[in-house]
Symmetry: C2
Subunit: 249 residues, 2 copies
DNA sequence: CGAATCCTTGAACACCTTCAACAGGGGTGG
DNA sequence: CCACCCCTGTTGAAGGTGTTCAAGGATTCG
């Protein structure tokens, strides 16, 4: 059972500060694991050098070997449409997993690119599967995370299908704000790590429309922006715009 | 509604002809299972009376107890937007699983409604999890099916984000055609089980737009339609419209 | 047979896109 | 350090695609 071999002290130290002391613990794959199971998970996790902005974590079509958790920084994931255009499917913050869509085909259907300097935990999939057989809660957490991804995609799908441009941008800003908040950062001030073009691509809008919306929100005193920096001045109104459901949400 | 009479011998027979002889075997959850493992899976699968059109398989917010496989007929699944509107997230044919999005929250995020008379296999989730611990390939197949759902949602997301109304309807018709074909039905003639309103809702278009597109495709001799019946006359052109990538796809 | 529902068609309008030009940083090289 | 260039982002005007509003036709079901 304890395949964990004695490790050099340096590695042990590095591993020790890994998942157990990671502030993202409760958002990430290890959630729900016992301490000793966590130790076993940590032995299979690989932590490489940070990636520089614009670097691929994996490309579309790459063979599927691992899933990836973000330790710090942010990513965008994208698919290619059949005429070769990029469709951004999500922006990912620390604690989130990417690469889950590759399980069924054994090849990455999405690509993932660093939006800023990013630290990644690489988790080889065959080893997760092996571990899951003796750590049921690991497999369960993997299922939960995949289910969350399905839910999130469905929400975004509804956004693209039904909402106006204003609503879409408001919803994105709120989503980013809430995710930063959960990670202990300011919910009202942050730097967008993605370009206007990325935002437009993700929201199904032209880049010019996104730009105009930022201007408009600023004129309405909902936001204050300087290029990538955003300060939310009126969260309530932003939520009203996003949800268009009066005061309740 | 009517009393579910216990018919022991009939039930036993019905269970016996279950997954092993089901024509959907290779599309569904049992794929990849050994014969004896399949027997064990079949003991937990519940097969109730067919549902009548318009009946819910499960509602939004229902506690999560099981996932559901379609034996015959078709379903639509939908989420509710925060202002209470229905957003259809998918149309489902025999062999497909629904309810996978509920795993993370233990409550159904989507609802599912029968579009016609539908036979359902109910697979209690706690029992799948128990079984998966001794049948690894069952857990793997579940992961694969969830991954496929993620991929499918991402494709649809790209459709809503980038494609024109013509492209969206063409893509949907091709998707339905291909899925019928894989199940041994005609790829060029079928009955749409969903309404124009459902199609519009799914594709992010007004019902009037959908209606006009059907008229247009008919005038272009791509389709022949009589209300819900569709005959595809020019599959090649339909694919060209959907993909807008010349002759290749 | 009538009512209700679903679908179709027409016309005006709105929203967002496209095209075009310009502004403003950030980096590089002189 | 400044000038220059490139890239990103902003702004304006025109145009198109799909929506909305409105009315009429078809089908189903009681």
């Amino acid at each position: 059972m304890a395949a964990t071999q004695a490790l050099p002290t340096l590695d042990a130290a590095r591993l020790k500060i890994a998942c157990k002391s990671c502030s993202l613990f409760e958002l990430c794959l290890p959630l729900g694991l016992e301490s000793n199971d966590l130790d076993r998970l940590e032995t299979i996790i690989q932590r490489a050098k940070p990636l520089t902005p614009g670097t691929h974590v994996f490309h579309v079509g790459d063979p599927f070997r691992a899933i990836y958790a973000i330790r710090s920084g942010s990513l965008k994931s994208y698919t290619l449409t059949n005429d070769g255009e990029e469709q951004i499917t999500g922006f990912h913050l620390p604690g989130e997993l990417v690469g889950l869509d590759a399980i069924s085909t054994n090849a990455h259907h999405c690509g993932a690119i660093a939006l800023e300097t990013v630290s990644i935990c690489t988790i080889p999939f065959d080893q997760i599967q092996t571990l899951s057989q003796t750590i049921p809660s690991l497999g369960q957490q993997l299922l939960r995370l995949m289910s969350m991804e399905i839910m999130h995609n469905q929400d975004h799908l509804a956004t693209l299908s039904k909402k106006s441009a204003d609503q879409r941008l408001a919803a994105l800003l709120i989503s980013i704000s809430e995710r930063y908040k959960r990670r202990g950062f300011s919910e009202s001030e942050f730097n967008l790590t993605m370009s206007r073009g990325d935002i437009g691509n993700y929201l199904g809008l032209a880049i010019e429309t996104v730009s105009r919306l930022f201007t408009k929100f600023q004129q309405q005193n909902i936001l204050e922006t300087q290029r990538k920096f955003v300060r939310i001045l009126d969260m309530q109104q932003l939520k009203t715009i996003a949800g268009s459901c009066g005061t309740a949400c």
